[in-house]
């Protein structure tokens, strides 16, 4: 029983980082209809920013959160200006490549600045663990889940309660109409990229303590976000969060039974099975395709 709870806890802490990455991924997707292949590299950038900052500032990781998020938001802004906006009218594959190229630049910049070794940042709140009956609960896992939950809740408020959120949702539903009703679509796109960067950066900070982070890890996070968005329903914001949690649960459970490699392989096999049976994801697409 305690093993099970322990497993769920670690799955949730992994899932909370996936959820942040996927949330950013789907925000960009909705604003631009483009797949952002650099989203994983944003996690790496955020993580290494945290690693670089933690010795400078003698505070718990949570205090770095705003700084890191600001940094990767700026990176996201740069991404939209350099790799998306100039290519808006071009076929989607052009954006695929430009975001991949941007990702390569970010990854190798990190590599050049801090070397290939996996790194770790200071704990979010405190190191160690507390005991709950038989069970040892890591402070880091708890604080990861809590931080991610707060960020997701803030995103929820932003999307549902503010003018900006309404505009983001409106332009996701129908960009043409949004443009026609005077919504500044370009500015929204930039905001979406910046938000996506900030969320990925936060995820980077979260994983940088619990798990080691190496510059080559970006692709993994990008893939997990991509899968989460497909499983959760292409374009569904909360579906993506749900998809991310599902993936993390699946990964953790299978890994505990059969090892990490098998978990990875089986995740993709499961994904293929989902696509076979439900070619538009478990929850279906957010917006039906127009002929």
């Amino acid at each position: 029983m305690t093993d099970l709870l322990q497993l769920i806890l670690s799955a949730l802490s992994l899932g909370s980082t996936y959820a942040l990455v996927a949330l950013g991924f789907v925000l960009v997707l909705n604003a631009t209809n483009a797949v952002n292949f650099a989203q994983g590299e944003m996690v790496v950038a955020g993580g290494f920013l945290a690693v670089a900052l933690s010795p400078l500032i003698d505070l718990p990781g949570v205090a770095l959160l705003p700084l890191v998020m600001l940094g990767t938001a700026a990176l996201g802004l740069l991404l939209s200006l350099a790799a998306y906006l100039p290519l808006r009218t071009r076929p989607p594959t052009a954006v695929f490549i430009s975001t991949i190229a941007f990702g390569i630049i970010v990854q190798n910049a990190v590599l050049a600045l801090s070397g290939p070794e996996p790194a770790t940042a200071s704990a979010l709140v405190a190191a160690g663990s507390t005991r709950l009956g038989e069970m040892a609960i890591g402070w880091q896992s708890l604080s990861m889940i809590a931080t991610a939950a707060v960020l997701v809740a803030l995103m929820h408020l932003l999307l549902e309660r503010t003018q900006l959120g309404r505009r983001l949702r409106a332009s996701a539903q129908d960009p043409e109409i949004a443009r026609a009703s005077g919504i500044p679509v370009v500015r929204l796109i930039v905001v979406a990229f910046a938000l996506a960067g900030a969320l990925a950066g936060a995820a980077g900070l979260l994983v940088a303590n619990q798990f080691f982070l190496s510059p080559a890890d970006g692709a993994n996070y990008m893939l997990k976000a991509y899968i989460a968005v497909v499983i959760g329903g292409w374009g569904r914001v909360w579906g993506a969060v749900l998809g991310a949690l599902l993936i993390a649960l699946f990964e953790s459970f299978v890994a505990s039974l059969a090892g990490h490699l098998a978990a990875d392989a089986l995740l993709y096999v499961a994904l293929l099975a989902v696509l076979l049976l439900r070619p538009t994801g478990i929850l279906g697409e957010a917006v039906g395709r127009r002929a």
Binding site: L87, T93, A94, I104, I105, A265, L275
Partner: protein, 602 residues
């Protein structure tokens, strides 16, 4: 002399010369073994890229499995060499075969997925293979891989160094020629349409699924070959051959080189192999510079290296003139008047959509040479009827008989092959393609000779010339004979409608279903269209026309049926139907003089 200059400036030659010049400048200072190794690598990546041009460039499917096929080829060749001591004459075919077989197995479920799902599914396949290569340590050597694979040996001849390089380049030449042939053929046109507008492909009767399938297999086969050559060339294999990195290079080769072109793949291969070498001095920042170069290339050279070179050539030497002689007329088709049985026979057809009745007990007969009008309010089942006839919707009950053959539940392609063509409510043409080629491509299903013929028809493709000749004849009959070389997108709406009709006719149908052909047409355009349709009718073509423009339809049709809530409420001559109380109640509306012109006003 000037002719010689122009000959060089034409087609792919100039870019090739540029590339060769740049290459020599780059290679001269290098030592021979190193230069040979680099050039072999370029050739291997060119082969991989040419393969990717088939599925990505021609078919337009964003596959992320090209790297996986490369990896399969690599591992198969490595294992066959190490375990069974096979030589190149066996390992290369085995690698190709393994990749193609694997592609054929995954194609069935994966190829029907659309865009981003297809991309992710192919990526998923690649990831599974990567994990397997790492995990099955006993077979693959795990992360360390396998070493000691000997160089390529074919028919007892050791091919390394110069000879190995020449062999790989010869294979590049063959594969490149195949791509060049396909691109310039009727198949190339068909791929162009499939990529641009799937509805246009349906309307032109292009077997899109089959084309995508073959393109997928071709790309897999070439990737497998490239993978095998890679392990023979470097002597080791490791999970790196399955890495996403290979896939990225593939994309870079095709997009930065030039999409769908042989020359683009070769130029791109030079870029991905030589660019990191060029940045050698940057050491740790090498890949960073590569990423920046890639970003700059995609930003500033949207048409890729080859497209940019062609633009430059056009500026220096002038645009290439359209030298092709206008094809001669050649009337296609068979006589449609020979038999008398009805072309279409609907027997008690019913269809429900989740409890909503779309069609109920509809029985219709359309004989040869009849224009059959279909009217009714929105949602009355007209489109469902059209979709049932064309096979897009399978009826719950009843039978659809086309020219005496029961086609109920048969695939749309089968129905189309039986002689049923259609147009869509909205215009679906390839706007950048010429009027001529928009029609010529629809001849694809009706001409003999297939892919193999295309590959062997070096230089010119007879089928394409014949299709164009026949297209001219069809266009002429619809009054578009003077517009054949214009792009379809530049035609006025009325002419675009007629072009769609011409494309439908190019399939040599016995029956055409026209969905709102008069929508958006001016009065003279409508009159002209009606006149043309009457001529087609005298040739025995049966037509079902759905339109809300009663003025147009009731003047043209021989018989008219009115649908309401899925049922035929009236059927008969236009005059009978016009006066039918049920039709007036359901559709025309009492006291609507616009739709009820007084007797003799026509």
């Amino acid at each position: 002399m000037t002719r010689l200059v122009f000959w060089f400036a034409d087609g792919i030659r100039l870019p090739l010369i540029f590339a060769a010049g740049a290459l020599i400048a780059f290679m001269l200072p290098l030592e021979a073994p190193y230069a040979i190794r680099l050039l072999t690598q370029v050739a291997i990546y060119a082969l991989l890229g040419i393969g990717y041009q088939f599925i990505f460039g021609l078919a337009g499917a964003f596959s992320l499995a090209q790297g996986a096929f490369f990896g399969i080829g690599a591992y198969v060749a490595a294992l066959a060499t190490l375990q069974w001591d096979w030589t190149g004459s066996l390992t290369l075919p085995a690698a190709i075969l393994a990749a193609v077989l694997f592609a054929a197995v995954v194609a069935a479920p994966v190829l029907r997925l659309s865009t981003h799902y297809f991309a992710l599914a192919t990526l998923g396949i690649a990831q599974v293979l990567l994990v397997l290569a790492i995990g099955c340590v006993d077979l693959t050597g795990g992360s360390n891989g396998l070493a000691g694979i000997r160089t390529l040996m074919v028919a007892g001849i050791e091919l390394d160094g110069w000879t190995g390089m020449a062999t790989v380049w010869a294979l590049v030449g063959l594969a490149g020629l195949a791509l060049y042939q396909v691109r310039g053929s009727l198949l190339g046109l068909a791929f162009d349409v499939v990529r641009t507008d799937p509805y246009a492909a349906i309307a032109a009767g292009i077997p899109a699924a089959r084309l995508r399938f073959w393109a997928f297999l071709a790309s897999a086969g070439l990737a497998g070959l490239a993978g095998a050559l890679q392990v023979h060339s470097i002597g080791v294999v490791s999970p790196e051959v399955l890495d996403f990195d290979i896939m990225v290079r593939c994309l870079v080769i095709c997009v930065v080189g030039g999409i769908a072109r042989t020359s683009g793949a070769i130029a791109g291969a030079f870029l991905v192999v030589l660019a990191p070498e060029l940045f050698h001095a940057l050491e740790g920042y090498r890949l960073l510079a590569f990423g920046a170069l890639l970003l700059a290339a995609i930003l500033f050279f949207p048409e890729g290296i080859i497209g940019t070179m062609e633009a430059l050539r056009a500026r220096w030497f002038g645009r290439r003139r359209f030298t092709q002689k206008l094809p001669t007329l050649r009337a296609p088709g068979r006589s449609l008047l020979a038999t008398t049985r009805p072309v279409l026979n609907l027997e008690r057809v019913s269809k429900n959509f989740g409890g909503v009745v779309a069609l109920e007990n509809v029985t219709l007969k359309v004989p040869r040479g009849e224009i059959f009008g279909l009217i009714g309010p929105n949602g009355s089942g007209k489109s469902t009827l059209v979709n049932v006839v064309t096979g897009l919707v399978v009826p719950d009950e009843g039978r659809v008989i086309v020219s005496g053959e029961d086609m109920t539940g048969r695939a749309p392609a089968k129905v189309a092959a039986r002689g049923v063509a259609r147009t869509f409510q909205t215009v679906h043409l390839h706007p950048a393609l010429s009027v001529l080629d928009n029609v010529a491509v629809a001849r694809i299903g009706d001409l003999p000779g297939g892919l193999f013929g295309t590959l062997l028809a070096i230089g010119s493709e007879r089928r394409l010339r014949r299709a164009r000749s026949e297209a001219v004849a069809i266009l002429d009959a619809l009054g578009l004979g003077g517009e054949v070389l214009r792009t379809a997108g530049s035609l006025p709406p009325g002419a675009q409608r007629r072009l769609e009709l011409a494309r439908a006719l190019a399939r040599n149908p016995e029956m055409v279903l026209l969905d709102e052909p008069a929508a958006g047409l001016s009065e003279p355009e409508q009159t002209y269209l009606a006149e043309r349709l009457r001529v087609l009718k005298t040739r025995g073509l049966a037509m079902i026309i759905v339109d809300h423009n009663l003025g147009f339809l009731l003047r043209l049709a021989d018989r008219v049926a009115c649908l309401d809530q899925g049922r035929v409420v009236a059927i008969g001559t236009p005059d009978q139907v016009r006066r039918d109380p049920a039709v007036i109640a359901a559709y025309i509306g009492p006291g609507n003089p616009a739709y009820r012109p007084p007797e003799g006003a026509r």
